[in-house]
Symmetry: C2
Amino acid sequence: MDYYQHFRVSPGSKLNLDKFDATCKDLHDDRKAAEEETLKLRERIRELQYQLYAERKRSVLICLQGRDAAGKDGTIRHVFRAMNPQGCRVYSFKVPSKIEAEHDYLWRHHRVTPGLGHVAIFNRSHYEEVLVVRVHNLVPKDVWKKRFDEINQFEKMLANNGTHILKFYLHIDPEEQLERFKKRLDSPAKQWKISDADYSERIYWDDYTKAYEDALTKCSTDHAPWFTIPSNRKWFRNYVVAKIMVSALESLNMSYPETSVDLAEIRRLYHEEKQKEDDS
Amino acid sequence: MDYYQHFRVSPGSKLNLDKFDATCKDLHDDRKAAEEETLKLRERIRELQYQLYAERKRSVLICLQGRDAAGKDGTIRHVFRAMNPQGCRVYSFKVPSKIEAEHDYLWRHHRVTPGLGHVAIFNRSHYEEVLVVRVHNLVPKDVWKKRFDEINQFEKMLANNGTHILKFYLHIDPEEQLERFKKRLDSPAKQWKISDADYSERIYWDDYTKAYEDALTKCSTDHAPWFTIPSNRKWFRNYVVAKIMVSALESLNMSYPETSVDLAEIRRLYHEEKQKEDDS
């Protein structure tokens, strides 16, 4: 099954998240097989990232979005930790700092877009500017409405300049979210993650749904597609994200760069040095 | 064996790198056992990094130094990729950019020191300012001589403000370096890493030795120790670095932070929400 195509939000399509199946039991129900496959996919991601790094011709930007407890941190821990930290940086965007708030809303994201050969992962992203900002009326409607176009243009410019963009929306349903909050309550290693906002945001569930539907349909483009990931089951979420990552990275047709040095000359030097060593 | 103490450069001690055993066959010669142990140590590093991240009280700065082909990249790939990229960033310092060169030599390093809860890995570091800079006379002697004190003061200030510093010098001997250059020549996936400088720097071997001896002895302090790592055998290098990392992180006595929220109130909310769900 081509998960890349299946879960991609087609540009200009409609999307009804309330009807989107966050579990997809009929699509896959063999956890053990999926977990084994995910390990292999991670190895492949590693190889492909190494080529990206060696090639130094393109960069990759990954945006992770989702409600509280949807699994953004978990996806990084289980899928993206396949990557060598030498070529991969994660940026978590929280409430803007004073300096950040004194700039346009794309400024702080643009500063940390990936350089050639590198991967950047945005844990929450510039999309919060049409999500939390919209739901809580942090700016007037006529301001955030312009942002869909502005974001598309920003991403188009990045793509034109060698950045390959992939955006994942991790979809869970309200029952699953509640279960996960419960688990945090019961685990000493997870209690520190609980915030008062977890529950207070739940009354805005439908407002967020509407905001996500707009963001995903208005900003899924050929150069920067959105993927809706069924995330009720963590192992399936990891599997789907890993499969899409491999498809995307393989489509780049990367290769190791030609060396810029004169290999014959270097070989001659090697033998000269070796001779010296052997003589001494 | 306490590798942390064994390979630590004692403050104020003498060091003769030409006599330092880069292999240490007598210390450990069971590759399989060491590799298995290293996997376990990596898991432990992962757990400890997660606590550091959760705690958000301290940060960790790791400096990796070594000659070409000493294994800086390999150490990151094999040991430090245990870390979740969400809380760990690698910074590779190459020839300074124009803007960087217009500032003091510590500026570009200070900008990227780790924040609370985070780990930063410097792949080459501010120590190049008393290594390559000294060997190639890029600044006069009276300038670089002042840097040992300046670096110690800089690191002391970082330590006073919650940054735990560990510095690894990966030691190989000239024969091993030559062998590694040879392997790069023969591997299509490694040829791109070859630079003309690899061989041309070899004539400065003894100058670098002297420069490293000074840097390591003058700047190994209680708050920012240097470790000389025998690195001829990659598996042993990984094992020693992983062991030292675990010792260092365990000595921080970290714990998960107390939650700032009212857990009883959150539990009440959970049951209220659950009731609503069950009723509907």
